[in-house]
């Protein structure tokens, strides 16, 4: 089972006493504000969790996997995530299935 926005809103409702509407809105806006900052070309740094960085990729040759036709992959900007030290240490200790 994966963690979803609904689970997070439920968690805020249980733990903070926000009503369901407020909890749902704040979770929605949390992700929307991060998207908006990245769209503006701004890095997002969430201490203790990690950084969302932007990288610019140059145009490179590509291929249509269906037809095998060569088409250039245009220059683009992509989002990458660099986990912070605290999150990395917590996750490193996870001893579950090797995936």
């Amino acid at each position: 089972m994966a963690l979803t926005k609904a689970d997070m809103a439920e968690h805020l409702f249980d733990e903070l006493g926000l009503n369901k509407r407020e909890a749902k809105d704040i979770v929605e806006m949390f992700f929307e504000e991060i998207r908006t900052a990245l769209e503006r070309g701004e890095q997002v740094k969430l201490s203790g969790f990690g950084n969302f960085d932007l990288r610019e990729k140059k145009e490179r040759p590509g291929r249509n996997p269906k037809t095998g036709e060569e088409i250039p992959i245009t220059a683009r900007r992509v989002v990458t995530f660099r986990p912070g030290q605290k999150l990395k240490s917590r996750v490193e200790a996870y001893a579950g299935n090797e995936r």
């Binding site: 994966a2 963690l3 979803t4 926005k5 997070m8 968690h11 805020l12 733990e15 903070l16 926000l18 407020e22 909890a23 809105d25 704040i26 979770v27 806006m29 949390f30 992700f31 504000e33 991060i34 998207r35 900052a37 990245l38 769209e39 070309g41 701004e42 890095q43 997002v44 740094k45 969430l46 201490s47 203790g48 969790f49 990690g50 969302f52 610019e56 145009e59 590509g62 249509n64 088409i71 245009t74 220059a75 683009r76 900007r77 992509v78 989002v79 995530f81 986990p83 605290k86 999150l87 990395k88 917590r90 996750v91 490193e92 200790a93 996870y94 579950g96 299935n97 090797e98 995936r99």
Partner: protein, 121 residues
């Protein structure tokens, strides 16, 4: 944008909520996400992206100072895959910036490569 700037923006938008509650909500969201990953649970946020764990097998490392070999255990690392909406919004904004830049170059009568906006993923 930092965590405290994010809290400021959210507090300004949710002005019926005390600042303290917004601050606490952001802290709780991040803590819930971290604890999910620490227990091997995935996170799926539609339109934003998904977080999962990737496994790094054990390997022989080297102490860079002494050159000595050290056995490193296998471990999990957090991995983020951006969702379609996030990818598209970030890249479309970038293409608009490039187009604007090319216009400026054109006005300067500098030669610029044609802009291609074909998106393949």
């Amino acid at each position: 944008m930092t965590k405290s700037e994010l809290i400021d923006v959210l507090a300004a938008e949710q002005d019926h909520l005390p600042y303290k509650d917004v601050e606490e909500a952001v802290r709780k969201i991040l803590e819930r996400m971290s604890s999910a990953l620490a227990s091997g649970e995935r996170i799926e946020i539609r339109g934003f992206g998904s977080f999962s764990l990737h496994y790094r097998p054990p390997r022989i490392g080297r102490n860079p100072k002494t050159g000595e070999s050290v056995a490193l255990a296998g471990k999990h690392v957090p991995h983020f895959k951006p969702g379609k909406e996030l990818r598209d919004r970030v890249n479309q904004a970038f293409q608009r910036e490039r187009a604007a830049q090319l216009d400026v170059d054109h006005d300067d009568e500098a030669s610029a490569p044609p802009l291609q906006v074909a998106v393949s993923s």
